[in-house]
């Protein structure tokens, strides 16, 4: 019987093949925590009295609050550092980058199962892995035993065909999809992406889509592997880890959603839910106090290139602040080499170290009362950026860059600036 991507990958980790709806125990290849969730994982792990099943594939990331803004968080960071030293687990130090970007750069491979104590763990699904977010205790147990309990999800097939218009990007596609199905439209499901648009997409675009699967409630956001996956792995020294992973033509999908990419326009998620999606062109009277370009959603070199092309030779509006944070130190190095950081600085941007930055509302870019932030991140809940009196809009890097210049939410396709 034909298998979905989720069924196929999970079945590679169970004693016998499994189908959607089945409860199973699956072997786990990689586990991950970040500095917000990791300390609780460490304390629960210690209660089990075990060693990590596979220490070289248990990674502790310092990314949400680094460099640390207060002593409690500094102490939490030290909990992770000490645990890594004691057990041989891997520490990804503050400044190296956001966990999801680092995971795809260095740690996760096609056909693997990754469980992480962060909801955007689904990002790695773009590599043809089954990657899902869980809580700290689940990751403690998965790290100790090398396995977890899973209910095999049923899947939605998201078929995207057609060419994206000028000024329209993967982020717009994903916000459009979430607006269509709702913040709980795919709860417990795996989203499986395919179609001609997907085939042409860069890995960066695919990561953007997988990253936001959880914003529709999904358990995973998975892509089949292809030459692009192989090339990405080659660039990161892991070509030998490539596997052909694809869904079967006779697999059973709970729902098939078809999107004509050529009809999608630049869109923005409005306060205070991700599915509150409107065309950017309808929001041109929204004044923006802060623009943030970065994060696991859109902090890759490809995203920074798009933003830099728009910002080159221009200045950020005098009433607007622009913050840029590359998603990893590799991206920062590349951006420096390409002169992108110069462009951002010349335009008036502040450059933050690789990490989550303002997204989580812990430090570095908290909003003032009544302020509006347009961000390339994946979440805009009330209070998300540290102030319940703030308003967060989400967009693509192109929309964000145009808006930084004008000081208002600006549709990049109307300006012709992305050519």
């Amino acid at each position: 019987m034909g298998q979905t991507l989720a069924e196929k990958i999970i079945s590679m980790h169970t004693q016998k093949p499994v189908t959607q709806g089945e409860l199973c125990i699956a072997k786990v290849d990689v586990t991950a925590v970040q500095d917000g969730t990791g300390p609780l994982t460490v304390s629960e792990f210690k209660k089990l009295g075990k060693k990590p099943a596979n220490p070289s594939r248990m990674i502790l990331f310092i990314d949400h609050a680094c460099p640390s803004p207060r002593k409690e968080l500094s102490n939490s960071h030290n909990v992770l550092r000490e645990f890594a030293k004691e057990t041989g687990a891997i520490l990804s130090e503050g400044g190296k980058g956001v966990c999801h970007q680092r995971l795809v750069e260095d740690f996760v491979n096609p056909g693997e199962i990754l469980v992480g104590a962060d909801s955007h763990t689904c990002t790695s699904g773009a590599l043809g892995a089954f990657a899902t977010g869980m809580g700290s205790t689940d990751i403690a147990v998965a790290s100790a035993l090398g396995k977890t309990w899973l209910k095999v999800p049923s899947s939605f097939k998201i078929v995207i065909n057609g060419d994206l218009r000028e000024g329209v990007y993967a982020k717009d596609l994903m916000l459009h999809l979430i607006g269509l199905i709702g913040a709980d439209g795919a709860t417990y499901k795996a989203l499986e992406f395919c179609g001609s648009t997907v085939e042409k997409m860069t890995m960066a675009d695919r990561f953007t889509l997988s990253n936001m699967a959880v914003e529709a409630g999904a358990k995973a956001g998975i892509f089949a592997t292809d030459e692009k996956t192989k090339e990405f792995l080659r660039e990161h020294g892991r070509e030998d880890k490539f596997k052909n992973i694809d869904f079967d033509d006779d697999a059973t999908y709970e729902r098939v959603i078809k999107i004509d990419a050529s009809k999608v326009v630049p869109v923005v998620s409005c306060p205070h839910t991700v599915d509150n999606v409107k065309p950017a062109s309808e929001l041109s009277n929204v004044k923006v106090n802060q623009v943030y370009i970065g994060t696991c959603t859109n902090g890759r070199i490809e995203d920074l290139r798009v933003a830099a092309k728009i910002l080159k030779g221009k200045k950020v509006n005098s009433d607007t602040r622009l913050i840029v944070a590359p998603a990893s130190v590799n991206i920062l190095k590349q951006a420096l080499k390409e002169g992108l950081i110069d462009i951002f600085v010349e335009s008036g941007a502040s450059i933050l170290p690789p990490g989550c930055g303002p997204c989580v509302g812990v430090h570095a870019g908290i909003l003032g009362d009544g302020e509006v932030c347009l961000a390339t991140q994946n979440r805009n809940f009330k209070g998300r950026m540290g102030n319940t009196e703030g308003f967060i809009y989400l967009s693509s890097p192109a929309t964000a860059a145009c808006s930084a210049i004008s000081g208002f939410i600006t549709d990049p396709s109307l300006k012709g600036v992305t050519k």
Binding site: R70, E72, D118, G135, V141, L145, D184, G217, F381, G386
Partner: protein, 166 residues
């Protein structure tokens, strides 16, 4: 097992940012202190006034967003006996099972803030004593019953040495 307490009504889409705000990230290492701020960004009066055994009653998609396990933890620490909602977000649901916070799925539209509820957990019935009405809740999944009986995921693993769920 019967639970009895007062309802605190919340709307749809209460996120883990509402429950355990990011600006209080530094309190994650001090859960009893963090619990003093639970649900603050949805209802600033809740944390100071909630009584042991009260119920959080919500619309759909309760607990959406971040995987922070601290969210169900501080709800539990505040003394809440159960969360009743029309639906739950996936990661929040799984975390609650793991730490022993009772979640019940039911049509909460007609429950108002302040209603006294009595819950027959085994029988699957919620009695609204204030309005003199009854609603039923969806049966608890086997996995939840097993883990809750063992006192949570860590206790389950310590007791059985491995998963004993399938």
């Amino acid at each position: 097992m019967n639970l009895k307490g007062k309802s605190w009504k919340f709307p749809d889409n209460i996120s883990t940012d509402h429950i355990a705000p990011g600006r209080l990230f530094h309190l994650r290492s001090n859960l009893p202190e963090f619990a003093k701020h639970v649900l603050e960004d949805a209802d600033p009066e809740f944390a100071k006034n909630v009584q042991k055994g009260d119920f959080v009653v919500a619309g759909s998609n309760f607990g959406l967003g971040s995987s922070r396990e601290h969210a169900p933890q501080i709800i539990k620490l505040s003394g809440v006996g159960a969360v009743i909602a029309k639906s739950f977000a996936r990661i929040f649901y799984r975390n609650a099972i793991n730490i022993g916070l009772l979640l019940l799925e039911a049509d909460t539209d007609k429950i108002n803030s302040g209603d006294e509820l009595e819950i027959d957990v085994r029988g699957g019935i919620i009695k609204n004593l204030t309005q003199d009405t009854t609603i039923s809740f969806k049966p608890l999944p086997e996995v939840m019953i097993k883990l809750q009986n063992d006192g949570g995921l860590v206790e389950h693993i310590k007791k059985h040495g491995d998963f004993d769920l399938v």
